[in-house]
Structures are given as C-alpha cells and as structure tokens.
C-alpha cells in the first residue's frame, strides 16, 4: 500500500502548520515501508490535540481518556501479541497526567511503540504550560511568571526507567521520523519516540527549531554512553539515541498441561 492509502480520510482538526501532520505522514510512510496490514495495526491514544491522530489512520484505533494511552496499549498487546500496537499522545498526556504509566511502561518493556508529540504546551485547553515547557515561558494566563519549574527530560527519564529504544524525531523532518518509527516498530520491546512537534498557535517561536535541530544518531547499546549523551543534550538533537534489546514482557511460561481449575477446591 502507498503511504497515502494509510489515511482514513477523516479530516484532521489540527491547525494549519501543526507539527502533528508530519507525524501523521511519517506514520503512513513507515507503514508503507513496513507493508503493514491496516487491520493488524492499532493506534492507541489519550486526550489532547495529538491524541486525535488514530482516527486519521486507516487502521484500528482507540481514543481513550487523558493520560492512559500506555495502559490501554499494554493491555491490548499482552492480550493480542499478534497486533502492531502503537501508543501515542502529547507531552501533557504522557509526561504529566500519564507520567506514572510512562515510567512503568519503560520498565515493563511490553513490545509496543510510544510516540509522544511534544510541543511543550497544552493545546486543547488553550495554551497552558506542560511538563516540557521552558521555565520562563510567560505566555499562559495560568502561569503568568512562567512555570518556574525545570522542564521534564523525557529521553533521559526513559533511559533511567529502562526503555530499550529511545529516539527523537522532528516534525520538520517527516522522512527522518518515518525511519525512526520504522526502526521502533522493528525493535523488540518498548520503543520510545520523542517528537518535537511544533505548535503554530501557542508556540509560534518553535518555527525556529528548523534552524537548531541537529542529527545525532548515537544509536548506542551502552546505557552509560547514552546517559552521558542525554544529560548533555540540548533537547534539539534528533536521531536514534539508544537501542538495547532486552527480554520483553510478558515472559511466556509454557504451561504444558491444562489444569483442572476446580481441583484446588476439593477437600
């Protein structure tokens, strides 16, 4: 199938110029390269602008509640290992309300991909600061002095929490993002893909990312080297940073004999 044929035909509600269009296109391009059967892919999301994405793809989708894309995706994948399950959402959805699930999804290493479209802002609720908003960003009425809180470091935290694949893409480079997504799907285990996805409405300054984003395909399997890189990262590096497959969950314990469930109750 051609990339275009992976679009559902439902028209996105995103603002013109929104970075999420690039993610949508990157997914279709990655699917084309993967020769993905549309009925065997499921896109799972939470709430927010980016979480609208599943409906725009010609596959199965689940648009759940705020912050809970990862548990839905993990439950689905454990129950249906035959499916290609991709969880997705925004920075508020994934790192704030869903932060606990992010940590445990990294640890658990279920074989799913998690794409976070990070525009450093809550778009659906009109531009409040998110966990990744710069400390001094003063454009929200809710935090008139800026959030005055150190931004969340998604990739470094993913590494510390045990993610086995960590990468960053950029909405200005949908082809590069398609490559990352392709590799993320192929990776056995939990693959975290952080995407710098510009918000033209609330953070028009993010257009400048185009000049600052730089390719750093570190792609190490050494967590110490990855940690050194990520702690020195300016947040604008793109590429696959870390790839270190480890046993995926659930570990299959082959129970040879079907057990009589009732036996244990007999006296």
């Amino acid at each position: 199938m051609k990339a275009k044929e992976y679009k559902s035909g439902i028209k996105p509600i995103w603002c013109p110029g929104c970075g999420h269009f690039a993610v949508l296109n990157a997914i279709t391009k990655a699917f084309a390269a993967l020769e993905q059967a549309p009925e065997n892919a499921v896109l799972v999301s939470g709430i927010g602008c980016s979480s609208r994405l599943p409906a725009y793809i010609n596959s199965y989708g689940f648009h759940g509640v705020h912050g809970r894309a990862l548990p839905v995706a993990a439950g689905l994948k454990v129950a249906r290992p035959d499916l290609n399950v991709i969880a997705m959402g925004g920075d508020g959805d994934g790192f704030s309300i869903g932060g606990n699930h992010f940590l445990h999804a990294c640890r658990r290493n279920v074989n799913i991909v998690y794409v976070v479209m990070d525009n450093e802002v809550y778009g659906m609720t009109k531009g409040q600061a998110s966990p990744t908003t710069p400390e001094n960003w003063e454009h929200s009425k809710l935090t008139p002095h800026g959030p005055e809180v150190r931004p969340f470091q998604p990739c470094a935290i993913a590494l510390a929490a045990g993610a086995s694949f960590i990468a960053r893409g950029y909405s200005g480079d949908p082809n590069g993002l398609a490559r990352i997504l392709f590799e993320a799907v192929e990776h056995p285990g939990f693959a975290f893909v952080h995407v710098l996805s510009q918000c033209p409405t609330f953070c028009p300054e993010q257009v400048q990312w185009k000049q600052s984003v730089h390719l750093e395909d570190v792609s190490t399997n050494d967590p110490v080297q990855a940690a050194a890189f990520l702690h020195a990262d300016d947040g604008l590096a793109k590429g696959i940073f870390y790839q270190n497959p480890r046993p995926i969950w659930p570990v299959e314990h082959h129970t040879t004999q079907p057990v009589n469930l009732r036996k244990g109750f007999e006296i």
């Binding site: 603002c15 110029g17 990655a30």
Partner: protein, 195 residues
C-alpha cells in the same frame, strides 16, 4: 530493485531510473502536501486558501503524472511487470538536499489565516528550490540522458516559478490599490478549547 542498492547519492546524478523516481516523488509529495494543507484550510474555513492550494496541488499532480507517463513510455513503470521498474525508495532513502523534498510547501510557514500573498510567496520559493535541485543535477551529472532531463525539468520549474511570480504581482498590485494599504492583522478569534 530496492533502494538499498543505491547507497550513495551519486546514483541520483548518474542513474536515470533513480533520477526519475526522485522527480516523481518530488512532484507527488508537493501535491500531497498541498492537498493536505488545502483540506486543513477548508476545515478552518479559509476558503480562499483552500481554492488556491487545491489549484497548486492539481498542477503538481499533473506534473507527477507527466513524469510517470514519460517513464512508462521509456519502458519503466512503478507497476510490476512492465519493463524495467523504477527503483522504490522508502521515505527516508531519497537523496534530498534537505530534510524534505525540494518542492514541498513548508509547514513552518503555514497559518490558518494565511493570505494568498503569503501562500504564493511560499509557492514561489519551493518552485525555485525545485529548479535549483534540477540545475544542480544537470551541472554535476556525467550521464547525458540525466543531464538533458534535469535541464528540461529545471526549465519547467522555472516556468512554474514565473507563472506564480506573475500571479503574485497581480495580487500585490491589487493590495496596493486597495483603499487601506496596511490591513489590520488582528485576529478577533482567539483559540478556543475543544476538549
């Protein structure tokens, strides 16, 4: 033939099949992006931009079709079983000078109240970018067939740029003759909260 075979950007300059595959992708990606933007403008009730972008998309679509037709006439086809097929590339395997294909309408320039003038300016830029892509190939290639084609495509891009340029000056003149020269750009519709 998979693209992994062409692991070096010189194939773009030297291999006619690779060159044609890029030319088709360049126009098709431009068309797809313009379609997407047009529909987005429609969703945001910018009818004027919708019309313009659809029109531009149609040109790119036609150009892509023309190159495909040319390739088919050459005995190449993207369809299986028709002569020597064009090589197929994954999205990230193309040898573009930048992150995206040269004629693609930059998302970073887009706004929902984008004016016709802004859109034409961007369209002009991307046509010029496509032209220089072809000019560079024509300059560097040692393959005479590729050189001829690259020059031809560069000419075509130049014509498109000229056409857009003409249209742009008409729009600019119209703006000059408008009663108020400086249009107030205030957006009286601030963003709202859909969820």
């Amino acid at each position: 033939m998979s693209a992994a075979f062409y692991d070096d950007s010189s194939s773009l300059y030297e291999n006619k099949g690779v060159f044609l595959a890029h030319s088709i992708a360049l126009e098709q990606e431009a068309a797809d992006r313009l379609h997407e933007l047009a529909e987005t403008m429609a969703v945001h009730n910018n009818r004027v931009l919708y019309q313009l972008l659809m029109e531009l998309a149609a040109y790119s679509e036609t150009h892509a079709a023309n190159i495909r037709e040319f390739a088919r006439a050459e005995g190449r086809s993207t369809l299986a079983g028709q002569g020597e097929p064009l090589p197929r590339f994954k999205a990230w395997e193309y040898f573009w000078p930048d992150d995206e294909s040269p004629e693609i309408f930059h998302n970073g320039r887009v706004h929902y109240l984008m004016s016709v003038e802004d859109a034409l300016l961007t369209a002009l830029e991307v046509e010029q970018s496509a032209e220089s892509f072809y000019r560079n190939i024509a300059k560097c290639t040692a393959n005479p067939e590729v050189k001829t084609l690259a020059e031809q495509f560069a000419e075509e891009e130049q014509e498109h740029a000229l056409a857009i340029s003409t249209r742009l000056s008409i729009v600019k003149d119209a703006a000059k003759n408008a009663p108020s020269k400086a249009l107030d750009q205030t957006d009286f519709d601030p963003p709202h909260m859909p969820e």
